[in-house]
């Protein structure tokens, strides 16, 4: 019995850029004309000589080139890479949605892919009907779906509405039901793409848990693409890093994620940042908005010791009069997992047209050695009465926490990532 589930060999995918559609008949005719005269295909030659993925060089681009890797049975492989690195193309070929231009993929076992949840859901059909349709699209037969139907409905938590057309569902319910169908697929190999970016936090946790279950307990192979480092770290055993259509690094999941973080997530030592749209993930009204954020009394390389206070000056601009807003900030680790958040009292005020500075000082931060970055928000209200955010800015300032004098005063010079991101030091121990 073999233990390789997927073997990818010299895989390549050539894409033609630009407008496809207009003028193709002309191209096709000249291609045909060239062939009948025994000449080479005038358009393919461009692609053949374009060995490197150069931008602007030609109309053809290798979206994937010479990709080689193996996945063993029971392995959970995380695929990491920036946008455009070829992750999606790889998944598309693996799920047979499109064909490769070169190379081959050998698969041992039944494969099912989730590039999207709820594919084929029809708004007019009821939840029940859609479960069957979607399940069949994903490769289950009617009897299989029937036998798991109760579990699926139970997992989704939309039991009450199962006979209602899904067009009346909230988007959350829709996604829950869709994911539930997928979660009960029983292929030997499962391919999952970013589908966890939807649903509320509790449901996301449930999904991740389910995936973990499936791989640990049932020994199934999973290929998982996500931008969420915590999610990848949580469920993957091994990983590959993709870059410009190639596999540039492979190893255990932790190794690959660490490599990616150090090489690709841009830790920088700017001490002041002018806020731009690059820092904004949400399209908010921004009645009050961040203009700039900077460290007060900046330190070299933004490297603070475990004992330093961190002081930050923020500059807000307002289009409204407001007497009672709050600001908040969160500290994140470089793998995008949150460490903690601070909410101010709702006592800050600003006037229409005013540009106002505030200084925030984080005392006794208790952060462990490592690299961090800061997100900020400004808004009113809370979870109970309903919150309104005026502006949310992410990945603003980056900083590092280090030990001041590693040789003498500190017991620990290294900090293990498994210990978390907080190094408590306001702790009393007494013998009684």
């Amino acid at each position: 019995m073999s233990d390789i589930a997927i073997k990818v060999e010299n895989l390549g995918k050539l894409y033609r850029l630009g407008e496809i559609g207009t003028g193709t008949l002309g191209q096709d005719l000249s291609r045909w004309w060239a062939r009948t005269r025994g000449k080479e295909d005038p358009f393919a030659t461009i692609g053949e000589t374009n060995d490197r993925t150069k931008k602007g060089g030609s109309n053809y681009v290798w979206s994937l080139k010479d990709v080689n890797f193996e996945v063993k049975q029971g392995e959970v492989l995380g695929i990491i890479g920036r946008n455009g690195a070829g992750k999606s193309t790889l998944l598309k070929i693996l799920s047979k949605v499109t064909g490769p231009s070169r190379g081959s993929i050998k698969i041992n076992g039944r494969i099912a892919s989730l590039l999207e949840v709820g594919t084929g859901f029809h708004p007019e059909l009821t939840g029940r009907e859609n479960v069957f349709l979607n399940g069949a699209i994903l490769g289950m037969n009617k009897a299989e779906i029937q036998s798991k139907f109760d579990e699926i409905v139970d997992f989704s938590g939309v039991e009450r509405y199962i006979d209602t057309p899904v067009k009346r569902y909230s988007s959350g319910m829709y996604v829950r039901l869709a994911f539930a169908v997928a979660a009960f697929l029983e292929p030997e190999i499962l391919i999952v793409d970013e589908v966890l970016a939807v649903g509320d936090a509790e449901f996301q946790k449930k999904c991740l848990g389910r995936m973990k279950d499936v791989s640990r307990n049932d020994g199934r192979t999973i290929l998982f693409v996500s931008h969420s480092m915590p999610a990848l770290k949580n469920i993957c055993t091994t990983g590959i890093l993709m870059e410009t259509g190639k596999v540039s690094f492979s190893g255990s999941a932790d190794e690959v994620i660490d490599y990616y973080i150090t090489n690709f997530l841009s830790f920088n030592t700017d001490t002041r940042i002018k806020i731009t749209d690059k820092n904004r993930e949400y399209d908010l009204l921004r009645q009050i908005e961040y203009d700039s954020i900077e460290f007060v009394n900046p330190v070299e390389k933004n490297m603070y010791s475990t004992e330093d206070d961190i002081a930050i000056l923020i500059t807000l601009k307002s289009k409204i009069d407001r007497e009672d807003f709050r600001i908040a900030f969160s500290i994140f680790k470089m793998d995008e997992s949150a460490v903690g958040t601070f909410f101010s009292q709702e006592t800050l005020s600003i006037r229409k047209g005013e540009t106002k500075d505030f200084v925030i000082t984080l005392k006794d931060h208790q952060l462990a050695k490592g690299q961090y970055y800061l997100d900020f928000s400004v808004g009113i209200g809370n979870e109970l009465i309903g919150a309104t955010e005026y502006d949310v800015v992410t990945k603003t300032l980056f900083f590092e926490i280090a030990y001041k004098d590693t040789s003498k005063t500190q017991m620990m010079v290294l900090w293990h990532s498994g210990w978390g991101a907080v190094n408590f030091h306001n702790v009393d121990i007494k013998a009684i």
Binding site: V97, G99, I107
Partner: protein, 298 residues
Amino acid sequence: MDSTDVLTKPGRPAPATAEPEEWTEVIQPKTSLLDLGLKDVWRYRDLVMLFVRRDFVSTYKQTVLGPIWFFIQPLLTTIIYVIIFGNVAKLSTDGLPTTVFYLSGITIWNYFSLTLMNTSTVLRDNAGMFGKVYFPRLTMPLSIVISNLARFGVQFALFIMVWLYYIVKGSSIHPNALIILTPVLVIIMGVLSLGLGMIFSAMTTKYRDLAMLLAFGMQLLMYATPVIYPLSSIPAKYKWLIMANPMSCIVEAFRYAFLGTGSFSWGYLSYSLAVTIVVMLAGTIIFNKVQKSFTDTV
């Protein structure tokens, strides 16, 4: 990072893995033309039926009359034809009552044209879904043929009712034993429209103009088929031209079997059958070839 080689962590032993002798599946750039994946289609047969169901439910949800529309559409068309072609243009119906004459033609023609029109856009219409998940693409056109077959069944029942009414009334209708050929005619028609539809579907992914052409072409084709006129009204000189259309023989045979006028010959039926088989094979091959890479071009 511009390195082309794969960096593996040093000290990681090359995995000693045994390769299976037989892979479940191998994905390669090129596959044989005749690799139609029919086995896969069979495995997904439940999906075909679910697509059929989806078609029905989604078409008639939130309509007041629901499936009654199956009846209304051919009835209205027949009435219009009776008025325009029968009463105004006074086209010959071979002495048959105009209603039953037109209804027979429309019933048959509707099945053919609806199936062809629906399958011809199947790849483009479902590009979103096809781009996200794999299932045998053939299931989609197959489901269209089947759901249209059910629609045809209802319309055929309507035709039978009208037909019986005229028989009881004692009109000049002379059904004969060829009625038992009806299933064969329906199958030929279904397969022919499926084959043609798949060819068009594959071509329209690249050349969208064909979709326009087809909509127009279907109207022309109806006039090149003895739907609103009997074959006998065509001068003998041009008869071959009409009969070159494989649908002509089907419509004529159907009419001959049920109404007793028209023409029927085994020769023409064999011809239709032969064309159908060729079209179906070509359609399946072209469709299969295109579906492997069409998500890149749509």
